[in-house]
Point group: C2
Chain length 233, copies 2
DNA sequence: TGCATATTTCTTGTCGACAAAATAAATACA
DNA sequence: TGTATTTATTTTGTCGACAAGAAATATGCA
């Protein structure tokens, strides 16, 4: 808290909203603020040492992404994870894995792969170090980089939303593994990247699908058993 | 302008933001506010008879959906239609047509089809009346209803975003037809709905794809010739 | 004591005003 | 006259304060 209030007077105009937005977003996605946590504007304005106006703007943006729910004239709280519609989430996630990887195999440029490979190294390091939070974020960054090399901003932004939403679920998931993840994931990533680099569109799509479906299957073992994951196009 | 200012004193608390948001959104999507139009907060606050605060909140939400662009500390304007990345748009649109229709064939319930059929009637009426704006909105409503009967909120919301974004392009497109649209579209809709009702998943997906690709192809004839529309999964 | 109504408290929604940033206009100087 | 610097204007970002709605508490009455 001290870190934030100390910035009170050395803040650039317009930066406040972004700071609040980023911090709250991370706290929500990392389950530091678990679903259902009340969000109080005055409390936040005291915490960040600014008036309610910029806080409010950050909250509006978070609400726009569905991360918080606002009851009119009443309280606002961190939105619940929708376990009932989890199958929707998994369907969408698998499809986006497939589509973005496939497009990456088609349209990537050499310089994209450098970034991707660097992020894959980061992910491997995180697995080696058994750092769950780092695994989640580097994994997301890696797949987003692949998606971006496919050059379709609509798919990328939906994928990004899904991966973020997933951070909340994955946080639970990784915990169940005692924050240890098999190296197989690292190898699968390598195979996917190789297929993309070789521009083997079908292989890239198949590997991405298998990768995604396997992750989903493992998560589902932990959750209410959804029985509707069979997207075939 | 009078309509809006007259509501100055009879407004329910909290409703202002929604009103401003809805109106501006429609004006942008219907090209009443063409891309690049400057958005002035004080001007809007005078127009709607309220302070800048609720105006600002509406603008933040619009910016969140990419409908306006905000230059920090400077002007904010209606965002440009991205003709350069149009292929991305078409790829995403076609895929969403396919996925949502396919899921509808799988998971729709009888009561969903009543709504869908009613909206199809509305669309047919609009075509008959040669009312371009009505065609655009009823067409979007119809396909969204189909999507919703597929019960995947992630796909539905991306599809909704795409159809809205499309309203700006379609507005140009329909104009090129002199606001007349062939009845073929009505027939194609009927076929799609029948396939969904029969739960013929493959047929529904194929018809939706053909429907979408045909529309896209016709739009592309009007635009910068994009050469990257060949999504095959 | 139990329930309905009134009052208080608490949080959000809105407002008007001020300050900072950027742009446009004006002035000074060569 | 042309350019650089200074000043004014415009527009956004932030603030503190107030009002409305809802929830919590207190009061009145049977």
């Amino acid at each position: 808290m001290d870190n934030e209030t100390s910035l009170r007077n050395e803040r650039k105009r317009g930066s406040g909203v972004k700071v609040v937005y980023d911090i709250l977003r991370d706290e929500i996605l990392d389950l530091e603020l678990p679903p259902g946590s009340p969000i109080d504007e005055v409390q936040l304005s005291e915490r960040f040492g600014m008036s309610r106006t910029p806080i409010r703007e950050a909250l509006v943006r978070l609400a726009g992404e569905g991360l918080i729910d606002t009851l009119p004239n009443r309280s606002t709280m961190v939105s619940q994870i929708d376990f009932l519609n989890m199958h929707s989430y998994f369907d969408a996630l698998v499809l986006m894995y497939r589509v973005t990887t496939q497009l990456a195999a088609k349209y990537h440029r050499p310089e994209d792969l450098e970034i991707v490979r660097a992020l894959q190294t980061d992910f491997a390091d995180a697995v080696e170090a058994q750092d769950a939070l780092a695994m989640i974020s580097t994994n997301a960054a890696l797949h987003l980089a692949i998606a971006e090399s496919g050059r379709n901003s609509y798919f990328t932004s939906l994928f990004s939303r899904l991966l973020n939403e997933g951070r909340r679920i994955l946080r639970l998931y990784y915990q169940s593994y005692n924050d240890r993840l098999p190296r197989r994931f690292v190898e699968e990533h390598d195979e996917i990247i190789d297929a993309v680099a070789a521009r083997d569109i079908e292989l890239a799509e198949r590997l991405a699908r298998e990768h995604a479906e396997q992750i989903v299957a493992q998560i589902q073992k932990l959750l209410v058993r959804g029985d509707r994951l069979d997207v075939r196009l």
